[in-house]
Symmetry: C2
Subunit: 234 residues, 2 copies
DNA sequence: CGAAGTCTTGACTAGACTCAAGTTGGGTGG
DNA sequence: CCACCCAACTTGAGTCTAGTCAAGACTTCG
Protein backbone atom coordinates (compact mmCIF):
# COMPACT_ATOMS: atom_id res chain seq x y z
CA UNK A 1 0.00 0.00 0.00
CA UNK A 2 2.80 2.35 0.87
CA UNK A 3 4.12 2.01 -2.63
CA UNK A 4 1.24 3.91 -4.10
CA UNK A 5 3.45 6.92 -4.53
CA UNK A 6 5.15 5.08 -7.33
CA UNK A 7 1.96 5.29 -9.31
CA UNK A 8 2.78 8.92 -9.85
CA UNK A 9 6.36 8.57 -10.84
CA UNK A 10 8.65 5.60 -11.24
CA UNK A 11 10.77 5.39 -8.11
CA UNK A 12 14.05 3.64 -7.77
CA UNK A 13 14.08 0.60 -5.54
CA UNK A 14 16.58 2.21 -3.21
CA UNK A 15 14.13 4.99 -2.49
CA UNK A 16 11.36 2.51 -1.93
CA UNK A 17 13.53 0.66 0.53
CA UNK A 18 14.46 3.85 2.29
CA UNK A 19 10.81 4.79 2.57
CA UNK A 20 9.88 1.41 3.93
CA UNK A 21 12.57 1.66 6.56
CA UNK A 22 11.56 5.16 7.57
CA UNK A 23 7.86 4.54 8.02
CA UNK A 24 6.50 4.08 11.49
CA UNK A 25 3.13 2.41 11.62
CA UNK A 26 0.80 4.06 14.05
CA UNK A 27 -1.47 2.18 16.41
CA UNK A 28 -5.05 1.67 15.32
CA UNK A 29 -7.13 4.79 15.72
CA UNK A 30 -10.77 4.51 16.73
CA UNK A 31 -13.52 6.02 14.68
CA UNK A 32 -13.91 9.77 15.06
CA UNK A 33 -10.37 10.12 16.31
CA UNK A 34 -8.50 13.26 15.56
CA UNK A 35 -5.56 12.78 13.24
CA UNK A 36 -4.38 16.35 13.40
CA UNK A 37 -0.97 16.65 14.94
CA UNK A 38 -0.04 20.25 14.50
CA UNK A 39 3.16 20.01 16.43
CA UNK A 40 4.70 17.26 14.39
CA UNK A 41 6.02 18.02 10.95
CA UNK A 42 5.72 14.45 9.78
CA UNK A 43 4.69 13.12 6.44
CA UNK A 44 1.59 11.11 7.24
CA UNK A 45 -0.17 8.65 4.99
CA UNK A 46 -3.40 6.86 5.66
CA UNK A 47 -2.78 3.12 5.45
CA UNK A 48 -6.10 1.57 6.36
CA UNK A 49 -9.57 2.84 7.15
CA UNK A 50 -10.92 6.18 6.05
CA UNK A 51 -10.76 9.78 7.16
CA UNK A 52 -12.15 13.16 6.26
CA UNK A 53 -11.17 16.77 6.47
CA UNK A 54 -13.86 19.13 7.64
CA UNK A 55 -14.67 22.55 8.94
CA UNK A 56 -17.07 23.47 11.68
CA UNK A 57 -19.36 26.29 10.68
CA UNK A 58 -20.60 28.98 12.98
CA UNK A 59 -24.12 27.59 13.10
CA UNK A 60 -22.98 24.20 14.35
CA UNK A 61 -23.01 22.58 10.94
CA UNK A 62 -20.04 20.76 9.60
CA UNK A 63 -18.76 20.79 6.06
CA UNK A 64 -16.62 17.89 4.97
CA UNK A 65 -14.10 19.18 2.47
CA UNK A 66 -12.22 16.06 1.64
CA UNK A 67 -12.26 12.31 2.02
CA UNK A 68 -9.08 10.30 2.42
CA UNK A 69 -8.69 6.71 1.36
CA UNK A 70 -5.73 4.44 2.07
CA UNK A 71 -2.64 5.64 0.25
CA UNK A 72 -3.53 9.30 0.58
CA UNK A 73 -1.21 11.75 2.23
CA UNK A 74 -2.96 13.43 5.14
CA UNK A 75 -1.33 16.81 5.01
CA UNK A 76 0.91 18.48 2.48
CA UNK A 77 1.84 21.16 4.96
CA UNK A 78 5.34 19.77 5.29
CA UNK A 79 6.10 21.12 1.83
CA UNK A 80 5.54 24.70 2.85
CA UNK A 81 5.45 24.53 6.64
CA UNK A 82 1.99 26.00 6.39
CA UNK A 83 -0.76 25.06 8.80
CA UNK A 84 -3.03 22.15 7.92
CA UNK A 85 -6.18 23.04 6.02
CA UNK A 86 -8.48 21.98 8.85
CA UNK A 87 -9.11 19.18 11.27
CA UNK A 88 -8.88 15.59 10.13
CA UNK A 89 -11.04 12.85 11.57
CA UNK A 90 -11.19 9.13 11.07
CA UNK A 91 -14.57 7.68 10.18
CA UNK A 92 -13.66 4.14 11.14
CA UNK A 93 -10.78 2.18 12.65
CA UNK A 94 -7.75 3.43 10.82
CA UNK A 95 -4.02 3.26 10.75
CA UNK A 96 -1.50 5.75 9.44
CA UNK A 97 2.17 5.62 8.64
CA UNK A 98 4.51 8.45 9.47
CA UNK A 99 7.91 9.51 8.30
CA UNK A 100 9.63 12.41 10.02
CA UNK A 101 9.46 15.40 7.71
CA UNK A 102 13.18 16.14 7.64
CA UNK A 103 13.98 12.51 6.84
CA UNK A 104 11.53 12.59 3.96
CA UNK A 105 12.85 15.88 2.68
CA UNK A 106 16.39 14.65 2.75
CA UNK A 107 15.39 11.83 0.41
CA UNK A 108 14.42 14.50 -2.08
CA UNK A 109 18.07 15.31 -2.50
CA UNK A 110 19.10 11.81 -3.38
CA UNK A 111 16.31 11.21 -5.86
CA UNK A 112 14.34 14.03 -7.45
CA UNK A 113 11.68 11.63 -8.66
CA UNK A 114 10.38 11.37 -5.10
CA UNK A 115 9.76 15.09 -5.18
CA UNK A 116 7.90 14.76 -8.44
CA UNK A 117 5.81 11.94 -7.05
CA UNK A 118 4.92 14.00 -4.00
CA UNK A 119 3.98 17.00 -6.09
CA UNK A 120 1.88 14.81 -8.34
CA UNK A 121 0.05 13.50 -5.32
CA UNK A 122 -0.61 17.08 -4.26
CA UNK A 123 -1.80 17.93 -7.76
CA UNK A 124 -4.21 15.01 -7.69
CA UNK A 125 -5.58 16.25 -4.40
CA UNK A 126 -6.11 19.64 -5.99
CA UNK A 127 -7.96 17.97 -8.86
CA UNK A 128 -10.18 16.20 -6.35
CA UNK A 129 -10.95 19.48 -4.71
CA UNK A 130 -11.85 21.04 -8.00
CA UNK A 131 -14.15 18.20 -8.92
CA UNK A 132 -15.87 18.67 -5.58
CA UNK A 133 -16.48 22.30 -6.45
CA UNK A 134 -18.05 21.17 -9.69
CA UNK A 135 -20.25 18.67 -7.90
CA UNK A 136 -21.48 21.12 -5.32
CA UNK A 137 -21.89 23.89 -7.83
CA UNK A 138 -23.71 22.28 -10.67
CA UNK A 139 -24.93 18.81 -9.95
CA UNK A 140 -28.22 17.79 -8.41
CA UNK A 141 -28.49 15.32 -5.58
CA UNK A 142 -28.57 12.06 -7.57
CA UNK A 143 -25.61 13.16 -9.62
CA UNK A 144 -23.62 14.18 -6.54
CA UNK A 145 -24.20 10.91 -4.73
CA UNK A 146 -23.51 8.87 -7.84
CA UNK A 147 -20.39 10.85 -8.53
CA UNK A 148 -19.09 10.34 -5.02
CA UNK A 149 -19.63 6.61 -5.28
CA UNK A 150 -17.87 6.45 -8.63
CA UNK A 151 -14.97 8.51 -7.35
CA UNK A 152 -14.44 6.49 -4.21
CA UNK A 153 -14.75 3.27 -6.14
CA UNK A 154 -12.05 4.45 -8.52
CA UNK A 155 -9.75 5.55 -5.75
CA UNK A 156 -10.19 2.37 -3.77
CA UNK A 157 -9.72 0.35 -6.91
CA UNK A 158 -6.39 2.03 -7.45
CA UNK A 159 -5.17 0.58 -4.17
CA UNK A 160 -6.79 -2.80 -4.63
CA UNK A 161 -9.58 -2.35 -2.12
CA UNK A 162 -12.48 -3.11 -4.42
CA UNK A 163 -13.70 -6.67 -4.09
CA UNK A 164 -15.42 -8.88 -6.62
CA UNK A 165 -18.66 -7.53 -8.02
CA UNK A 166 -17.55 -3.94 -7.51
CA UNK A 167 -18.09 -3.99 -3.77
CA UNK A 168 -16.14 -2.06 -1.20
CA UNK A 169 -16.28 -0.77 2.35
CA UNK A 170 -17.70 2.71 2.74
CA UNK A 171 -17.49 3.60 6.40
CA UNK A 172 -19.48 6.81 6.14
CA UNK A 173 -22.88 7.47 7.65
CA UNK A 174 -25.52 9.05 5.50
CA UNK A 175 -25.15 12.15 7.63
CA UNK A 176 -21.47 12.31 6.73
CA UNK A 177 -22.19 11.80 3.06
CA UNK A 178 -24.60 14.68 3.32
CA UNK A 179 -22.03 16.89 4.96
CA UNK A 180 -19.58 16.09 2.19
CA UNK A 181 -22.04 16.74 -0.62
CA UNK A 182 -23.90 19.71 0.81
CA UNK A 183 -27.13 17.76 1.22
CA UNK A 184 -29.32 17.05 4.21
CA UNK A 185 -29.25 13.58 5.73
CA UNK A 186 -32.84 13.00 4.77
CA UNK A 187 -32.20 13.87 1.18
CA UNK A 188 -29.18 11.61 0.98
CA UNK A 189 -31.31 8.81 2.27
CA UNK A 190 -33.99 9.34 -0.34
CA UNK A 191 -31.42 9.65 -3.08
CA UNK A 192 -29.78 6.38 -2.11
CA UNK A 193 -33.18 4.74 -2.12
CA UNK A 194 -33.68 5.77 -5.70
CA UNK A 195 -30.36 4.26 -6.70
CA UNK A 196 -31.27 1.07 -4.89
CA UNK A 197 -34.76 0.94 -6.33
CA UNK A 198 -33.26 1.22 -9.79
CA UNK A 199 -30.99 -1.73 -9.05
CA UNK A 200 -27.86 0.34 -9.51
CA UNK A 201 -26.35 -0.16 -6.08
CA UNK A 202 -26.76 -2.19 -2.92
CA UNK A 203 -25.78 -0.89 0.50
CA UNK A 204 -25.67 -2.65 3.79
CA UNK A 205 -23.92 -1.57 6.94
CA UNK A 206 -21.02 0.25 5.47
CA UNK A 207 -20.56 -2.02 2.48
CA UNK A 208 -21.47 -0.84 -0.98
CA UNK A 209 -21.92 -3.00 -4.03
CA UNK A 210 -22.25 -1.34 -7.38
CA UNK A 211 -24.53 -3.54 -9.41
CA UNK A 212 -24.46 -1.52 -12.56
CA UNK A 213 -21.35 0.60 -12.87
CA UNK A 214 -22.04 1.87 -16.40
CA UNK A 215 -25.41 3.19 -15.38
CA UNK A 216 -24.01 4.74 -12.21
CA UNK A 217 -21.24 6.38 -14.19
CA UNK A 218 -23.77 7.76 -16.60
CA UNK A 219 -26.00 9.17 -13.87
CA UNK A 220 -22.99 10.78 -12.26
CA UNK A 221 -21.55 12.22 -15.41
CA UNK A 222 -18.36 10.70 -14.10
CA UNK A 223 -15.11 10.79 -15.98
CA UNK A 224 -12.16 9.43 -14.06
CA UNK A 225 -9.51 11.27 -16.04
CA UNK A 226 -9.05 13.82 -13.26
CA UNK A 227 -7.93 11.05 -10.92
CA UNK A 228 -5.18 9.84 -13.17
CA UNK A 229 -1.99 11.83 -12.96
CA UNK A 230 -1.73 11.94 -16.72
CA UNK A 231 1.63 13.05 -17.97
CA UNK A 232 2.00 15.45 -20.79
CA UNK A 233 3.57 13.76 -23.75
CA UNK A 234 7.27 14.46 -23.21
CA UNK B 1 3.05 43.47 -9.07
CA UNK B 2 5.41 40.72 -10.07
CA UNK B 3 6.96 40.88 -6.67
CA UNK B 4 3.92 39.44 -5.01
CA UNK B 5 5.66 36.12 -4.71
CA UNK B 6 7.81 37.67 -2.05
CA UNK B 7 4.75 37.94 0.13
CA UNK B 8 5.05 34.24 0.64
CA UNK B 9 8.70 34.02 1.37
CA UNK B 10 11.45 36.59 1.61
CA UNK B 11 13.35 36.48 -1.64
CA UNK B 12 16.83 37.70 -2.23
CA UNK B 13 17.18 40.70 -4.45
CA UNK B 14 19.25 38.73 -6.95
CA UNK B 15 16.34 36.38 -7.48
CA UNK B 16 13.96 39.25 -7.88
CA UNK B 17 16.22 40.76 -10.48
CA UNK B 18 16.52 37.49 -12.29
CA UNK B 19 12.76 37.13 -12.32
CA UNK B 20 12.29 40.61 -13.61
CA UNK B 21 14.72 39.96 -16.42
CA UNK B 22 13.11 36.68 -17.36
CA UNK B 23 9.53 37.86 -17.56
CA UNK B 24 8.04 38.53 -20.94
CA UNK B 25 4.94 40.69 -20.85
CA UNK B 26 2.22 39.44 -23.11
CA UNK B 27 0.11 41.66 -25.30
CA UNK B 28 -3.27 42.70 -23.98
CA UNK B 29 -5.83 39.94 -24.24
CA UNK B 30 -9.43 40.78 -25.00
CA UNK B 31 -12.25 39.68 -22.76
CA UNK B 32 -13.22 36.04 -23.10
CA UNK B 33 -9.86 35.16 -24.58
CA UNK B 34 -8.44 31.76 -23.93
CA UNK B 35 -5.31 31.78 -21.82
CA UNK B 36 -4.70 28.08 -22.05
CA UNK B 37 -1.48 27.29 -23.78
CA UNK B 38 -1.10 23.60 -23.40
CA UNK B 39 1.95 23.36 -25.56
CA UNK B 40 4.05 25.84 -23.66
CA UNK B 41 5.46 24.85 -20.30
CA UNK B 42 5.79 28.42 -19.12
CA UNK B 43 5.21 29.85 -15.73
CA UNK B 44 2.39 32.31 -16.33
CA UNK B 45 1.19 35.00 -13.99
CA UNK B 46 -1.78 37.25 -14.43
CA UNK B 47 -0.58 40.86 -14.29
CA UNK B 48 -3.68 42.90 -14.99
CA UNK B 49 -7.35 42.16 -15.53
CA UNK B 50 -9.11 39.08 -14.33
CA UNK B 51 -9.58 35.49 -15.43
CA UNK B 52 -11.39 32.36 -14.42
CA UNK B 53 -10.99 28.65 -14.68
CA UNK B 54 -14.09 26.72 -15.65
CA UNK B 55 -15.49 23.49 -16.86
CA UNK B 56 -18.19 22.93 -19.42
CA UNK B 57 -20.81 20.49 -18.24
CA UNK B 58 -22.60 18.03 -20.43
CA UNK B 59 -25.86 19.92 -20.30
CA UNK B 60 -24.33 23.10 -21.66
CA UNK B 61 -23.88 24.71 -18.26
CA UNK B 62 -20.57 26.05 -17.15
CA UNK B 63 -19.07 25.82 -13.71
CA UNK B 64 -16.43 28.36 -12.78
CA UNK B 65 -13.97 26.68 -10.47
CA UNK B 66 -11.59 29.48 -9.78
CA UNK B 67 -11.09 33.20 -10.18
CA UNK B 68 -7.67 34.70 -10.80
CA UNK B 69 -6.68 38.18 -9.79
CA UNK B 70 -3.46 39.99 -10.70
CA UNK B 71 -0.48 38.32 -9.10
CA UNK B 72 -1.94 34.83 -9.34
CA UNK B 73 -0.13 32.07 -11.14
CA UNK B 74 -2.29 30.70 -13.90
CA UNK B 75 -1.18 27.11 -13.88
CA UNK B 76 0.94 25.12 -11.51
CA UNK B 77 1.28 22.34 -14.02
CA UNK B 78 4.91 23.18 -14.61
CA UNK B 79 5.70 21.70 -11.20
CA UNK B 80 4.52 18.25 -12.17
CA UNK B 81 4.22 18.45 -15.94
CA UNK B 82 0.59 17.53 -15.45
CA UNK B 83 -2.14 18.90 -17.68
CA UNK B 84 -3.87 22.12 -16.65
CA UNK B 85 -6.99 21.72 -14.54
CA UNK B 86 -9.30 23.11 -17.17
CA UNK B 87 -9.64 25.97 -19.59
CA UNK B 88 -8.81 29.48 -18.49
CA UNK B 89 -10.62 32.52 -19.79
CA UNK B 90 -10.17 36.23 -19.29
CA UNK B 91 -13.22 38.17 -18.19
CA UNK B 92 -11.83 41.53 -19.22
CA UNK B 93 -8.82 43.04 -20.92
CA UNK B 94 -5.89 41.34 -19.30
CA UNK B 95 -2.19 40.93 -19.49
CA UNK B 96 0.02 38.10 -18.33
CA UNK B 97 3.72 37.66 -17.79
CA UNK B 98 5.53 34.52 -18.76
CA UNK B 99 8.80 32.95 -17.82
CA UNK B 100 9.94 29.82 -19.63
CA UNK B 101 9.46 26.86 -17.30
CA UNK B 102 13.03 25.59 -17.50
CA UNK B 103 14.43 29.04 -16.76
CA UNK B 104 12.19 29.31 -13.72
CA UNK B 105 13.07 25.86 -12.52
CA UNK B 106 16.75 26.53 -12.84
CA UNK B 107 16.35 29.45 -10.47
CA UNK B 108 15.16 26.93 -7.90
CA UNK B 109 18.68 25.60 -7.73
CA UNK B 110 20.28 28.89 -6.94
CA UNK B 111 17.80 29.88 -4.27
CA UNK B 112 15.53 27.40 -2.53
CA UNK B 113 13.34 30.15 -1.15
CA UNK B 114 11.87 30.64 -4.60
CA UNK B 115 10.70 27.05 -4.48
CA UNK B 116 9.12 27.64 -1.09
CA UNK B 117 7.40 30.76 -2.34
CA UNK B 118 6.00 28.88 -5.32
CA UNK B 119 4.76 26.04 -3.16
CA UNK B 120 3.18 28.51 -0.78
CA UNK B 121 1.36 30.10 -3.67
CA UNK B 122 0.09 26.68 -4.67
CA UNK B 123 -0.98 25.99 -1.09
CA UNK B 124 -2.91 29.25 -1.03
CA UNK B 125 -4.67 28.25 -4.20
CA UNK B 126 -5.60 24.97 -2.55
CA UNK B 127 -6.97 26.89 0.43
CA UNK B 128 -9.06 28.98 -1.94
CA UNK B 129 -10.44 25.87 -3.52
CA UNK B 130 -11.32 24.43 -0.15
CA UNK B 131 -13.10 27.59 0.91
CA UNK B 132 -15.09 27.42 -2.31
CA UNK B 133 -16.20 23.92 -1.39
CA UNK B 134 -17.35 25.25 1.96
CA UNK B 135 -19.26 28.06 0.31
CA UNK B 136 -21.01 25.85 -2.19
CA UNK B 137 -21.68 23.16 0.36
CA UNK B 138 -23.02 25.01 3.32
CA UNK B 139 -23.75 28.63 2.67
CA UNK B 140 -26.95 30.15 1.37
CA UNK B 141 -27.03 32.66 -1.46
CA UNK B 142 -26.48 35.88 0.52
CA UNK B 143 -23.58 34.32 2.35
CA UNK B 144 -22.00 33.04 -0.85
CA UNK B 145 -22.19 36.36 -2.62
CA UNK B 146 -20.98 38.27 0.43
CA UNK B 147 -18.16 35.82 0.90
CA UNK B 148 -17.05 36.14 -2.70
CA UNK B 149 -16.98 39.91 -2.42
CA UNK B 150 -14.99 39.77 0.81
CA UNK B 151 -12.54 37.31 -0.66
CA UNK B 152 -11.93 39.24 -3.84
CA UNK B 153 -11.61 42.47 -1.90
CA UNK B 154 -8.96 40.88 0.29
CA UNK B 155 -7.05 39.44 -2.62
CA UNK B 156 -7.15 42.67 -4.59
CA UNK B 157 -6.16 44.59 -1.50
CA UNK B 158 -3.08 42.41 -1.17
CA UNK B 159 -1.89 43.67 -4.55
CA UNK B 160 -2.94 47.26 -3.99
CA UNK B 161 -5.92 47.24 -6.30
CA UNK B 162 -8.52 48.43 -3.81
CA UNK B 163 -9.19 52.13 -4.06
CA UNK B 164 -10.38 54.56 -1.45
CA UNK B 165 -13.69 53.71 0.18
CA UNK B 166 -13.17 50.00 -0.40
CA UNK B 167 -13.96 50.16 -4.07
CA UNK B 168 -12.50 47.96 -6.78
CA UNK B 169 -13.09 46.72 -10.29
CA UNK B 170 -15.05 43.50 -10.56
CA UNK B 171 -15.22 42.62 -14.25
CA UNK B 172 -17.67 39.77 -13.83
CA UNK B 173 -21.22 39.65 -15.11
CA UNK B 174 -23.92 38.47 -12.77
CA UNK B 175 -24.18 35.35 -14.89
CA UNK B 176 -20.50 34.63 -14.26
CA UNK B 177 -20.87 35.23 -10.54
CA UNK B 178 -23.72 32.74 -10.61
CA UNK B 179 -21.62 30.17 -12.41
CA UNK B 180 -18.90 30.57 -9.84
CA UNK B 181 -21.24 30.28 -6.86
CA UNK B 182 -23.62 27.66 -8.14
CA UNK B 183 -26.53 30.08 -8.33
CA UNK B 184 -28.79 31.13 -11.17
CA UNK B 185 -28.30 34.54 -12.70
CA UNK B 186 -31.68 35.65 -11.49
CA UNK B 187 -30.94 34.67 -7.94
CA UNK B 188 -27.59 36.45 -7.97
CA UNK B 189 -29.36 39.55 -9.13
CA UNK B 190 -31.89 39.41 -6.32
CA UNK B 191 -29.22 38.71 -3.77
CA UNK B 192 -27.18 41.70 -4.88
CA UNK B 193 -30.28 43.83 -4.65
CA UNK B 194 -30.68 42.86 -1.02
CA UNK B 195 -27.10 43.86 -0.28
CA UNK B 196 -27.64 47.16 -2.04
CA UNK B 197 -30.96 47.81 -0.38
CA UNK B 198 -29.30 47.29 3.00
CA UNK B 199 -26.65 49.86 2.07
CA UNK B 200 -23.86 47.34 2.33
CA UNK B 201 -22.53 47.61 -1.20
CA UNK B 202 -22.85 49.70 -4.33
CA UNK B 203 -22.31 48.29 -7.81
CA UNK B 204 -22.16 50.04 -11.10
CA UNK B 205 -20.84 48.70 -14.39
CA UNK B 206 -18.13 46.47 -13.08
CA UNK B 207 -17.14 48.64 -10.16
CA UNK B 208 -17.97 47.56 -6.63
CA UNK B 209 -17.87 49.76 -3.56
CA UNK B 210 -18.22 48.15 -0.18
CA UNK B 211 -19.98 50.68 1.98
CA UNK B 212 -20.02 48.63 5.14
CA UNK B 213 -17.24 46.07 5.26
CA UNK B 214 -17.88 44.91 8.83
CA UNK B 215 -21.47 44.12 8.05
CA UNK B 216 -20.55 42.39 4.79
CA UNK B 217 -17.93 40.33 6.59
CA UNK B 218 -20.47 39.34 9.17
CA UNK B 219 -23.08 38.31 6.62
CA UNK B 220 -20.48 36.28 4.81
CA UNK B 221 -19.04 34.61 7.88
CA UNK B 222 -15.77 35.63 6.31
CA UNK B 223 -12.43 35.04 7.97
CA UNK B 224 -9.45 35.94 5.86
CA UNK B 225 -6.98 33.72 7.66
CA UNK B 226 -7.10 31.14 4.87
CA UNK B 227 -5.75 33.71 2.45
CA UNK B 228 -2.70 34.50 4.49
CA UNK B 229 0.14 32.07 4.07
CA UNK B 230 0.64 31.88 7.81
CA UNK B 231 3.86 30.27 8.80
CA UNK B 232 4.09 27.83 11.61
CA UNK B 233 6.19 29.20 14.41
CA UNK B 234 9.63 27.84 13.57
C1' DC C 1 -32.17 -6.60 26.77
C1' DG C 2 -31.74 -1.86 26.62
C1' DA C 3 -29.76 2.27 24.65
C1' DA C 4 -27.71 5.07 21.30
C1' DG C 5 -26.90 5.96 16.92
C1' DT C 6 -28.42 5.20 12.26
C1' DC C 7 -31.70 4.76 8.90
C1' DT C 8 -36.47 5.46 7.14
C1' DT C 9 -40.86 7.68 6.29
C1' DG C 10 -44.27 11.45 6.13
C1' DA C 11 -45.83 16.20 5.98
C1' DC C 12 -44.79 20.80 5.40
C1' DT C 13 -41.74 24.81 4.20
C1' DA C 14 -38.58 27.52 1.89
C1' DG C 15 -34.75 28.72 -0.82
C1' DA C 16 -33.51 28.60 -5.40
C1' DC C 17 -34.62 27.58 -10.45
C1' DT C 18 -37.09 28.27 -14.79
C1' DC C 19 -39.52 30.70 -17.95
C1' DA C 20 -40.87 34.85 -19.79
C1' DA C 21 -41.13 39.60 -20.48
C1' DG C 22 -39.38 43.94 -19.91
C1' DT C 23 -35.65 47.76 -19.02
C1' DT C 24 -31.26 49.77 -19.04
C1' DG C 25 -26.88 51.12 -20.89
C1' DG C 26 -22.89 51.08 -23.70
C1' DG C 27 -21.28 50.65 -28.40
C1' DT C 28 -21.81 50.83 -33.42
C1' DG C 29 -23.02 52.37 -37.80
C1' DG C 30 -25.67 55.17 -40.73
C1' DC D 1 -25.75 62.91 -33.58
C1' DC D 2 -29.18 59.88 -33.39
C1' DA D 3 -31.20 55.27 -34.03
C1' DC D 4 -30.46 50.89 -33.34
C1' DC D 5 -28.73 46.66 -31.21
C1' DC D 6 -27.04 43.57 -28.14
C1' DA D 7 -25.68 42.21 -23.82
C1' DA D 8 -26.45 42.79 -19.23
C1' DC D 9 -29.57 43.67 -15.75
C1' DT D 10 -34.49 43.61 -13.64
C1' DT D 11 -38.89 42.07 -12.39
C1' DG D 12 -42.80 38.82 -11.85
C1' DA D 13 -45.08 34.36 -11.49
C1' DG D 14 -45.14 29.60 -10.92
C1' DT D 15 -42.59 25.25 -9.85
C1' DC D 16 -39.52 22.17 -7.79
C1' DT D 17 -35.60 20.53 -5.51
C1' DA D 18 -33.99 20.12 -1.22
C1' DG D 19 -34.36 21.49 3.84
C1' DT D 20 -36.73 21.16 8.31
C1' DC D 21 -39.29 19.03 11.78
C1' DA D 22 -40.99 15.05 13.83
C1' DA D 23 -41.81 10.43 14.73
C1' DG D 24 -41.01 5.66 14.19
C1' DA D 25 -38.09 1.26 12.83
C1' DC D 26 -33.89 -1.03 12.48
C1' DT D 27 -28.90 -2.14 13.96
C1' DT D 28 -25.27 -2.65 16.59
C1' DC D 29 -23.08 -3.08 20.76
C1' DG D 30 -22.35 -3.07 25.51
Amino acid sequence: VILRLSRFEPLSSEIKDALRRGVKRSPLYSPYANLLRDGARDVTMLLTGMACRFKLMGNGKRQITGILVPGDICDFGFLTSSPPPGPLMTTTYSQVGRIPGPAFMSLFESDPSLMLATLSAAATEAALSQERVISLGSRIAVERVSHLLCEIRSRLDAVGLVGPGNSFELPLTQAEIGEALGLSTVHVNRTLQVLRRDKIITMRSGKVTIEDLPRLTERAGFDDSYLRPARLSP
